[in-house]
Point group: C2
Chain length 110, copies 2
Protein backbone atom coordinates (compact mmCIF):
# COMPACT_ATOMS: atom_id res chain seq x y z
CA UNK A 1 0.00 0.00 0.00
CA UNK A 2 2.76 2.45 -0.78
CA UNK A 3 0.37 4.75 -2.57
CA UNK A 4 -0.27 8.25 -1.29
CA UNK A 5 -3.96 9.03 -0.83
CA UNK A 6 -3.67 12.28 -2.80
CA UNK A 7 -7.35 12.49 -3.58
CA UNK A 8 -8.19 12.87 0.10
CA UNK A 9 -6.35 16.15 0.32
CA UNK A 10 -6.91 19.56 -1.22
CA UNK A 11 -5.50 20.57 -4.59
CA UNK A 12 -3.35 23.19 -2.90
CA UNK A 13 -1.98 20.73 -0.35
CA UNK A 14 -1.06 18.38 -3.16
CA UNK A 15 0.58 21.16 -5.15
CA UNK A 16 2.75 22.23 -2.25
CA UNK A 17 3.58 18.62 -1.44
CA UNK A 18 4.57 17.94 -5.04
CA UNK A 19 6.89 20.93 -5.23
CA UNK A 20 8.39 20.13 -1.84
CA UNK A 21 8.81 16.48 -2.75
CA UNK A 22 10.75 17.47 -5.86
CA UNK A 23 13.09 19.55 -3.72
CA UNK A 24 13.31 16.71 -1.21
CA UNK A 25 16.49 15.19 -2.60
CA UNK A 26 20.00 16.63 -2.19
CA UNK A 27 20.86 16.05 -5.86
CA UNK A 28 17.87 18.12 -6.91
CA UNK A 29 18.73 20.85 -4.42
CA UNK A 30 22.23 20.81 -5.89
CA UNK A 31 20.78 21.15 -9.39
CA UNK A 32 18.68 24.14 -8.33
CA UNK A 33 21.68 25.67 -6.56
CA UNK A 34 23.74 25.26 -9.69
CA UNK A 35 21.06 26.69 -11.96
CA UNK A 36 20.68 29.70 -9.69
CA UNK A 37 24.43 30.28 -9.68
CA UNK A 38 25.26 30.16 -13.35
CA UNK A 39 23.74 33.26 -14.78
CA UNK A 40 23.57 31.78 -18.21
CA UNK A 41 21.85 28.46 -18.41
CA UNK A 42 24.25 26.36 -20.44
CA UNK A 43 23.35 23.14 -18.80
CA UNK A 44 24.61 19.66 -18.38
CA UNK A 45 27.89 20.41 -17.25
CA UNK A 46 25.51 19.48 -14.43
CA UNK A 47 26.62 15.96 -15.18
CA UNK A 48 30.17 17.09 -14.40
CA UNK A 49 29.05 19.05 -11.35
CA UNK A 50 27.31 16.17 -9.61
CA UNK A 51 28.64 12.82 -8.41
CA UNK A 52 25.94 10.93 -10.28
CA UNK A 53 25.70 9.17 -13.60
CA UNK A 54 24.09 10.86 -16.59
CA UNK A 55 20.90 8.79 -16.62
CA UNK A 56 20.36 9.46 -12.91
CA UNK A 57 20.70 13.20 -13.45
CA UNK A 58 18.42 13.02 -16.43
CA UNK A 59 15.79 11.45 -14.22
CA UNK A 60 16.21 14.08 -11.52
CA UNK A 61 15.82 16.79 -14.15
CA UNK A 62 12.66 15.11 -15.36
CA UNK A 63 11.20 15.16 -11.88
CA UNK A 64 12.09 18.79 -11.39
CA UNK A 65 10.44 19.52 -14.71
CA UNK A 66 7.31 17.52 -13.84
CA UNK A 67 7.01 19.48 -10.61
CA UNK A 68 7.28 22.71 -12.61
CA UNK A 69 10.50 23.79 -10.94
CA UNK A 70 12.54 23.96 -14.09
CA UNK A 71 11.78 24.57 -17.73
CA UNK A 72 13.90 23.85 -20.74
CA UNK A 73 14.34 24.59 -24.40
CA UNK A 74 16.15 22.59 -27.00
CA UNK A 75 19.19 24.59 -27.97
CA UNK A 76 21.06 22.92 -30.77
CA UNK A 77 22.20 19.56 -29.56
CA UNK A 78 22.14 20.69 -25.95
CA UNK A 79 19.15 21.42 -23.77
CA UNK A 80 18.99 24.63 -21.85
CA UNK A 81 17.37 24.26 -18.47
CA UNK A 82 16.38 27.15 -16.22
CA UNK A 83 14.59 27.49 -12.93
CA UNK A 84 10.93 28.32 -13.37
CA UNK A 85 10.27 31.21 -11.03
CA UNK A 86 6.57 30.50 -10.83
CA UNK A 87 7.01 27.35 -8.75
CA UNK A 88 9.55 29.04 -6.51
CA UNK A 89 7.18 31.95 -5.98
CA UNK A 90 4.33 29.58 -5.19
CA UNK A 91 6.18 27.67 -2.50
CA UNK A 92 7.77 30.84 -1.19
CA UNK A 93 4.32 32.37 -0.82
CA UNK A 94 3.20 29.28 1.06
CA UNK A 95 6.00 29.59 3.59
CA UNK A 96 5.58 33.33 3.96
CA UNK A 97 1.90 32.80 4.73
CA UNK A 98 2.71 29.99 7.14
CA UNK A 99 5.37 32.03 8.93
CA UNK A 100 2.90 34.93 9.16
CA UNK A 101 0.32 32.76 10.86
CA UNK A 102 2.90 31.46 13.30
CA UNK A 103 3.95 34.88 14.58
CA UNK A 104 0.32 35.62 15.44
CA UNK A 105 0.11 32.52 17.58
CA UNK A 106 0.81 32.74 21.27
CA UNK A 107 1.31 29.12 22.15
CA UNK A 108 2.33 28.47 25.68
CA UNK A 109 2.80 24.74 25.65
CA UNK A 110 5.69 24.31 23.20
Amino acid sequence: MGTTKSDHFSVKQNQIANIAKAIGHPARVAILDYLSKVDSCICSDIVNELPLAQPTISQHLKELKNAGLIKGNIEGNAICYCIDEKAIEKIQAYFTKLAGKLTKQKNTCC
Copy 2:
Protein backbone atom coordinates in the same frame (compact mmCIF):
# COMPACT_ATOMS: atom_id res chain seq x y z
CA MET B 1 20.13 0.78 -5.24
CA GLY B 2 17.39 2.88 -3.76
CA THR B 3 19.77 4.69 -1.44
CA THR B 4 20.32 8.39 -1.70
CA LYS B 5 23.99 9.38 -1.92
CA SER B 6 23.64 11.99 0.82
CA ASP B 7 27.34 12.07 1.63
CA HIS B 8 28.16 13.39 -1.81
CA PHE B 9 26.27 16.60 -1.20
CA SER B 10 26.79 19.52 1.14
CA VAL B 11 25.35 19.63 4.65
CA LYS B 12 23.17 22.56 3.66
CA GLN B 13 21.84 20.79 0.59
CA ASN B 14 20.96 17.78 2.72
CA GLN B 15 19.28 19.96 5.35
CA ILE B 16 17.10 21.69 2.79
CA ALA B 17 16.31 18.38 1.12
CA ASN B 18 15.34 16.82 4.44
CA ILE B 19 12.98 19.62 5.37
CA ALA B 20 11.48 19.68 1.87
CA LYS B 21 11.13 15.92 1.85
CA ALA B 22 9.16 16.05 5.09
CA ILE B 23 6.79 18.58 3.54
CA GLY B 24 6.60 16.46 0.41
CA HIS B 25 3.45 14.61 1.37
CA PRO B 26 -0.07 16.04 1.31
CA ALA B 27 -0.91 14.56 4.71
CA ARG B 28 2.04 16.34 6.25
CA VAL B 29 1.14 19.60 4.51
CA ALA B 30 -2.36 19.14 5.93
CA ILE B 31 -0.93 18.63 9.40
CA LEU B 32 1.14 21.81 9.12
CA ASP B 33 -1.89 23.69 7.78
CA TYR B 34 -3.94 22.48 10.70
CA LEU B 35 -1.29 23.34 13.27
CA SER B 36 -0.96 26.82 11.83
CA LYS B 37 -4.73 27.32 11.95
CA VAL B 38 -5.56 26.27 15.50
CA ASP B 39 -4.08 28.95 17.66
CA SER B 40 -3.90 26.68 20.63
CA CYS B 41 -2.12 23.44 20.02
CA ILE B 42 -4.45 20.87 21.46
CA CYS B 43 -3.51 18.20 19.02
CA SER B 44 -4.70 14.95 17.66
CA ASP B 45 -8.03 15.82 16.81
CA ILE B 46 -5.64 15.68 13.83
CA VAL B 47 -6.72 12.07 13.68
CA ASN B 48 -10.28 13.31 13.20
CA GLU B 49 -9.19 15.99 10.74
CA LEU B 50 -7.40 13.66 8.36
CA PRO B 51 -8.66 10.69 6.35
CA LEU B 52 -5.94 8.42 7.66
CA ALA B 53 -5.67 5.88 10.45
CA GLN B 54 -4.09 6.83 13.75
CA PRO B 55 -0.86 4.86 13.29
CA THR B 56 -0.34 6.44 9.89
CA ILE B 57 -0.74 9.92 11.32
CA SER B 58 1.55 9.05 14.18
CA GLN B 59 4.20 8.10 11.65
CA HIS B 60 3.75 11.33 9.70
CA LEU B 61 4.09 13.30 12.92
CA LYS B 62 7.26 11.40 13.69
CA GLU B 63 8.73 12.33 10.34
CA LEU B 64 7.81 15.96 10.76
CA LYS B 65 9.45 15.86 14.17
CA ASN B 66 12.61 14.18 12.84
CA ALA B 67 12.88 16.88 10.22
CA GLY B 68 12.56 19.52 12.95
CA LEU B 69 9.32 20.93 11.59
CA ILE B 70 7.28 20.28 14.68
CA LYS B 71 8.05 19.98 18.35
CA GLY B 72 5.92 18.49 21.08
CA ASN B 73 5.44 18.38 24.81
CA ILE B 74 3.65 15.78 26.82
CA GLU B 75 0.59 17.44 28.24
CA GLY B 76 -1.18 15.05 30.57
CA ASN B 77 -2.24 12.07 28.53
CA ALA B 78 -2.27 14.09 25.37
CA ILE B 79 0.70 15.36 23.43
CA CYS B 80 0.85 18.95 22.35
CA TYR B 81 2.45 19.42 18.98
CA CYS B 82 3.38 22.78 17.52
CA ILE B 83 5.18 23.96 14.44
CA ASP B 84 8.83 24.70 15.07
CA GLU B 85 9.45 28.08 13.52
CA LYS B 86 13.16 27.51 13.17
CA ALA B 87 12.76 24.97 10.37
CA ILE B 88 10.18 27.11 8.61
CA GLU B 89 12.51 30.11 8.82
CA LYS B 90 15.38 28.04 7.48
CA ILE B 91 13.57 26.84 4.39
CA GLN B 92 11.92 30.20 3.90
CA ALA B 93 15.34 31.84 3.93
CA TYR B 94 16.50 29.34 1.33
CA PHE B 95 13.69 30.22 -1.04
CA THR B 96 14.07 33.95 -0.47
CA LYS B 97 17.73 33.68 -1.34
CA LEU B 98 16.96 31.54 -4.37
CA ALA B 99 14.28 33.94 -5.60
CA GLY B 100 16.70 36.82 -5.09
CA LYS B 101 19.30 35.21 -7.28
CA LEU B 102 16.74 34.51 -9.98
CA THR B 103 15.64 38.11 -10.38
CA LYS B 104 19.25 39.11 -11.02
CA GLN B 105 19.49 36.63 -13.85
CA LYS B 106 18.78 37.73 -17.38
CA ASN B 107 18.36 34.43 -19.13
CA THR B 108 17.35 34.68 -22.70
CA CYS B 109 16.98 31.04 -23.62
CA CYS B 110 14.08 29.96 -21.38
